[in-house]
């Protein structure tokens, strides 16, 4: 009996091993068909940055294929890029604070400005910030400011004297707040402590308390549903980015947008080149194409972002144009979202606030 059992077990183990290898081979299969003869550019980006028309025109004019991968948050970008050690993408679009992290981790490489023909058109206000001094590694692609989207009927016209108390201590109405813990933390901190680089733990506690006491005024948390909530009269005021707001201005005429007078946050989407890519020709062709005046105008009109050049401003709603010029004037007073505390603390506070 002993003799017969041994081969049985051995063969079974072999078969199991075979199946495991086979299954994993199938899972890794997509990686093996990668090299294509057609020139392809791989862009890893937010879903609301490049409109279809511009990309189609680019593909037709240059014969280069563009393939998009999307992410929903800067955290996702960082995690995915670190996991593949920067391979797989030719262009990425980090926001301000993530650019700094990417530079520190050496995941992006310097831009060769001799191959760029539009540097002098870029708005100087958007350049030379602390996350990438002299813009060695990144260039601004779009930007937006944060402010109050409000129901003009409820406030009987334009919002008078917009300030941060409108969302932290609203009088007789409920608000919609952003659902991103980093943004919420920064906003509360700015309201309480002004512009800061880092917070002490006692300052952090006060921020936590403010966010918790804000909860009773909140109708809903949601970064994307803001305009919908206002248009359906669920709440008359919300904090949102200018692009989300202006995108819906045509559809919902009752909307208004205002920047708090104490100052606010600005977010610059930068374009950067991962360190491991070798498709430099394709990359610079794309960059020069996408920064052409007409293409900037079309892209920014589609998503109501602010353009990186003055000539790229599309003719949208007058409020949009007004806000663009006002924002540029007050730009030095604006701040960026930062990790004012470690990510773990931020998320822990957020869970505290929500529970």
């Amino acid at each position: 009996m002993q003799k017969r059992k041994e081969p049985l077990l051995g063969i079974r183990i072999f078969l199991v091993f075979f199946w495991v290898v086979f299954i994993f081979f199938l899972l890794f299969a997509p990686n093996f068909g990668a090299t294509s003869s057609v020139r392809t550019l791989h862009i890893f980006t937010w879903s609301d940055l490049f409109d279809e028309q511009t990309i189609r025109n680019f593909e037709k004019d240059t014969g280069i294929n563009v393939h998009f991968n999307y992410y929903d948050s800067n955290e996702e970008l960082l995690v995915k890029l670190k996991a593949t050690k920067g391979h797989g993408h030719d262009l990425i679009i980090p926001s301000d604070y993530s650019t700094k992290i990417l530079i520190e981790q050496e995941l992006i490489k310097p831009i060769d400005y001799s191959r760029i023909d539009f540097k002098n058109r870029l708005l100087p206000e958007l350049l030379n910030h602390d996350f990438d001094p002299d813009n060695i590694y990144s260039m601004p692609l779009n930007w937006e400011v944060y402010g109050f989207t409000y129901d003009k009927e409820h406030f009987k016209g334009k919002l008078q004297n917009p300030n941060w108390n409108h969302i932290f201590q609203p009088k007789n109405y409920r608000i919609a707040m952003t659902n991103d813990p980093v943004e919420a933390f920064n906003m509360a901190s700015f309201h309480l402590h002004g512009k800061q680089q880092h917070l002490t733990s006692s300052q952090t506690s006060i921020v936590r308390d403010t966010l918790t006491s804000q909860k009773k005024y909140i109708e809903a948390y949601g970064s994307f549903r803001i305009t919908y909530l206002i248009a359906t009269k669920n709440c008359p005021l919300a904090i949102s980015s200018s692009s989300y707001s202006f995108r819906m201005f045509d559809e919902y005429p009752i909307l208004g947008f205002a920047i708090p007078k104490e100052g606010t946050f600005v977010s610059i989407e930068n374009i950067a080149i991962p360190a491991q890519t070798e498709n430099d020709d394709l990359i610079y062709t794309f960059l020069n194409y996408v920064y052409r005046q007409d293409n900037i105008q079309r892209r920014c009109a589609f998503y109501a972002q602010f353009p990186p050049t003055r000539d790229g401003l599309p003719t949208l709603h007058p409020d949009y144009i007004q806000t663009f010029h006002n924002a540029l004037k007050s730009f030095p007073e604006f701040c960026f979202f930062r990790h004012l505390a470690p990510e773990q603390t931020l998320r822990d506070i957020w869970i505290d606030v929500k529970s």
Partner: protein
């Protein structure tokens, strides 16, 4: 009195869907009240590229994972029919019921990331197949075990080989269960949301994720139109499930 309560319950179940479908023909988008009849949103629906990509992805994933689940369970039963011992291992599949889907999704996400497997269609199919296995195998196995063994004996006595017996006797007897369970796991996979939320990566868009993106940013009448279409689709599947051949064997 009883009938009234039952009617109210069904009203509760159906009023939202019916309202949604009726307003899919409304010419003004929500939140406007009824304006006039139009097929405009259906037109937009059938021309929305994103939606169809998501729909076809979901369809492919559901069909593939259902197929793999059913095939593997049939092969497992074949192993049992050929005298293998499976009984103890069956308990492995009860884990599917005890563990919430969220935990499985989180586990799979960590697992794939750790092994550097790129998240995409293959990983989603693998994940959905696990979901399906948990249903198919216990059901088919217990159905197999409760089959009359004399039928198989008779077939062997009459000269058929074990292989022929399996294909001509056992499988046809299992077919109603297979179809019913297959439909069930197809729909579970097609409508599945949690696994896709964690394990789809950023490149694959499934129908559920698309709907979530739309809902998170407000409502769109195109979704109304989509719900009407999907509702009809579900009706069709349920009618299949309820056809007399199968129904008597389930309930």
């Amino acid at each position: 009195m009883k009938r009234l309560l039952v009617a109210l319950t069904y009203l509760f179940l159906y009023v939202p869907i019916v309202v949604l479908i009726v307003f899919s023909f409304n010419s003004k988008s929500f939140p406007a009240p009824w304006d006039s009849f139009t097929f405009h949103w259906y037109h937009e629906l059938f021309h929305s590229k994103d939606l169809w990509v998501a729909f076809s992805n979901s369809l492919v994933i559901a069909l593939t994972s259902t197929f793999i689940s059913l095939t593997m369970s049939v092969l497992l039963i074949f192993f049992r029919a050929s005298g293998g011992k499976v009984g103890k291992f069956l308990a492995l599949y009860y884990g599917n019921l005890i563990i919430p889907e969220t935990v499985l999704a989180v586990g799979l996400l960590g697992y794939f990331t750790m092994l550097n497997i790129p998240l995409g269609m293959p990983t989603l199919i693998a994940a959905h197949t696990v979901l399906g296995l948990g249903f198919v195998i216990p059901v088919l196995y217990s159905r197999y075990v409760s089959l009359d063994p004399r039928l198989v004996e008779a077939s062997l006595d009459l000269g058929a080989s074990p292989l022929q017996t399996f294909f001509k006797i056992t499988l046809p007897l299992l077919r109603p269960s297979m179809i019913a369970t297959g439909l069930l796991i197809f729909i579970i996979s097609f409508d599945d949301f949690i696994l896709s939320y964690f394990c789809a990566g950023s490149n694959i868009q499934t129908l559920s994720l698309y709907l979530l993106a739309v809902i998170r940013s407000g409502l769109s009448p195109v979704v109304n139109a989509l719900s009407a279409v999907l509702f009809l689709f579900s009706c069709g599947l349920v009618m299949l499930f309820f056809s007399p051949k199968i129904r008597s064997r389930i309930f």
